[in-house]
């Protein structure tokens, strides 16, 4: 293949990667923004979404599209429920002390991994795509499903944006983010808002996982990379800033796609992690954030 089409392919792969990454990272960013909680178990919520998707599509009768549609609804609800429960039973009791919550979410991530290993097993298993469509470009054929993933991610992100900016629930979340004491004084049930935001963040990770699982197989250790990449995106974009997160997801997803195609993926990861460490050291507000 010539250089031009090769670059186009790399960019397209990068876009799919960026779309899924944006969903996952927005979940992490939302939780950090509203609750000031660094959720180390976020990658495990992603993994749980993928594993549950396998169970749903495996046991659902009928054509694969029906099972997949069911998984798209069931996975975020279940994972969100688990997250809300973890929040009320554990994080709330720690008063969201930053260091204690990190230790607790590390503990949670081990428990989720073990749960997946015990009930799902150590194998990586594929989930069938809901439809099989191949779009023929002049130079190469491309999976229609991957393009559908990008569209779906954009629709969901738009919905999140509308939720945060145009609805009463979003207003309450933003109020809690700005000042939780004043929000409480105005009769907002901050505990419930926190549980809901934690569930929403986890649910977004789960949706991202359901979308990716026909492309990447479900495995109990698959949460590692999304967690690291989401951290990178959220930090580069500026902690807690949704717009910055989206922009950073696009930059990181595309550059990761391109660098991985032309260079070693390990080298790409080394450079990205170092970059994040340096951003936090020298520009803690993020590359796109503004100093508070």
């Amino acid at each position: 293949m010539d250089f031009g089409p090769f670059l186009l392919l790399a960019l397209m792969e990068g876009t799919v990667m960026a779309a899924v990454l944006a969903l996952t990272a927005v979940g992490l960013s939302l939780v950090f923004g509203v609750m000031r909680v660094v959720n180390v178990a976020h990658g495990e919520f992603f993994m749980l979404g993928a594993v549950i998707a396998w169970f749903v599509t495996h046991y659902m009768p009928g054509p694969p599209a029906v099972g997949f549609a069911a998984a798209l609804v069931i996975c975020p609800l279940l994972v969100g429920g688990v997250a809300a429960l973890s929040d009320t039973l554990i994080l709330k009791r720690l008063n969201y002390d930053p260091e204690a919550t990190i230790v607790a979410t590390i503990g949670l991530s081990y428990i989720f991994q073990q749960a997946a290993l015990t009930f799902y097993g150590p194998d990586a298993r594929p989930v069938e795509a809901p439809f099989d469509l191949r779009i023929q470009l002049p130079w190469f054929g491309y999976s229609g499903y991957k393009i559908a993933v990008v569209v779906a991610a954009i629709v969901i992100l738009l919905a999140v944006w509308l939720l945060m900016t145009r609805t009463r629930a979003g207003l309450i979340m933003r109020a809690t983010q700005l000042d939780r004491t004043t929000a409480r004084a105005f009769g907002i049930n901050v505990d419930r808002v926190y549980a809901a935001v934690f569930a929403l963040g986890a649910g977004l990770a789960a949706v991202a996982a359901v979308l990716i699982v026909p492309i990447q197989q479900a495995h109990y250790l698959m949460g590692h990379d999304p967690l690291l990449l989401s951290f990178i995106v959220v930090i580069i974009g500026g902690l807690g800033s949704l717009r910055g997160t989206l922009l950073a997801a696009l930059v990181i997803g595309l550059s990761d796609g391109v660098i991985s195609v032309f260079f070693s993926p390990t080298l790409a990861k080394i450079l990205a992690t170092l970059l994040v460490a340096m951003v936090l050291v020298f520009r803690p507000q993020g590359l796109f954030g503004v100093k508070q």
Binding site: G107, L108, Y110, Q113, L117, I270, L280, P284
Partner: protein
């Protein structure tokens, strides 16, 4: 002789006696626990005393492990200079990490250290031609000896681990009694006020992190020579969490806490693996229970309730 010193010497004496009382299987376990306890003591100096919650100590452990392992396998060093190289590598990497990471604090510090450790892990994988990545290197038996002392045999290995442990423990005790140790605790308790009193927080924290790195490097170096295996799995996030877990369990900011935590956690996993394969669950549940119900750990709680003089 103070009560505290007597207690520490008593623990060392008990471990010395254990060599003659324990069957071989537990001897190897205790040797491993003592080396891991040195790692945890180093972690405790940063986290327990100075208040620096790092998620990247695996980097310092791996620095010691790889400096020693590659020193023996690639550069053909003998064990003694290789161990020294490991010690220095741990301290040097900690100093380099500290100079950058200590510009941040709190959650940012945790993430920066985590990212540096991840970079270290990926670098080990990237240079797979030399490090053999995940597969790791087995250090040849002939090189694992100091003079005529074969450190791969049970008894010399136990005494080597005990010597390292005893030195590390007594230095740790001395440190807590020194001016430096007290200024480290001052950083943990109130950085603003200690700055006002004329201390330089960056300097104190950097010294604490370097000492912590020297401990981790020494532990990594000893682990390589005593157990003969150097692998990338020791550089993963799990090995940053492990000392945190030991310290939280035994009691942060206590000299004997890291050893007690390592001992209990090691045997908890060892015994539970007789009944279940769910090791991850045991570790996860232990972290949750500790952080929820006993944030001060065993010796921390004991010190608060009964034994006030416990260092």
């Amino acid at each position: 002789m103070t009560r505290a010193l007597a207690l520490h010497l008593g623990v060392i004496a008990a471990l010395f006696a254990a060599q003659y009382l324990l069957p071989s299987y537990h001897q190897t376990n205790i040797a491993r626990i003592m080396v891991l306890a040195v790692f945890a003591m180093g972690y405790n100096i940063a986290f327990g005393y100075t208040g620096l919650l790092s998620l990247g100590h695996a980097l310092f452990f791996a620095a010691g492990l790889y400096a020693t392992g590659l020193g023996i396998e690639l550069a053909g060093l003998s064990a003694a200079p290789a161990l020294l190289l490991g010690l220095i590598a741990g301290g040097a990497i900690a100093a380099a990490t500290g100079v950058l990471a200590l510009r941040t604090s709190g959650v940012s510090f945790m993430i920066v250290t985590l990212m540096f450790a991840q970079t270290g892990y990926l670098t080990i994988l990237y240079f797979g031609t030399y490090t053999r990545g995940d597969e790791g290197i087995v250090i040849n038996r002939a090189a694992r000896a100091i003079g005529s002392l074969d450190l791969s045999a049970d008894t010399p290995r136990y005494f080597a681990a005990l010597t390292l442990f005893a030195i590390a423990l007594l230095i740790n005790l001395m440190l807590t009694r020194s001016r430096l140790g007290r200024s480290m605790i001052a950083m943990r308790e109130n950085e603003q006020r200690s700055r006002m009193l004329g201390y330089n927080p960056f300097r104190v924290k950097l010294i604490a992190l370097v000492i912590s790195g020297l401990y981790a490097g020494a532990a990594g170096a000893a682990y390589g020579v005593l157990f003969g295996y150097v692998g990338a799995s020791f550089a993963t996030i799990q090995y940053s969490i492990l000392p945190l877990l030991y310290v939280l369990l035994g009691g942060a900011g206590t000299t004997l806490g890291p050893f007690l935590g390592a001992l209990i956690m090691f045997y908890l996993i060892d015994i539970s693996s007789g009944y279940t394969t769910a090791h991850l669950f045991v570790v996860g549940a232990a972290l949750l229970v500790l952080v929820l119900f006993a944030p001060k750990g065993i010796l921390g709680t004991l010190r608060e309730r009964a034994v006030k003089w416990l260092p």
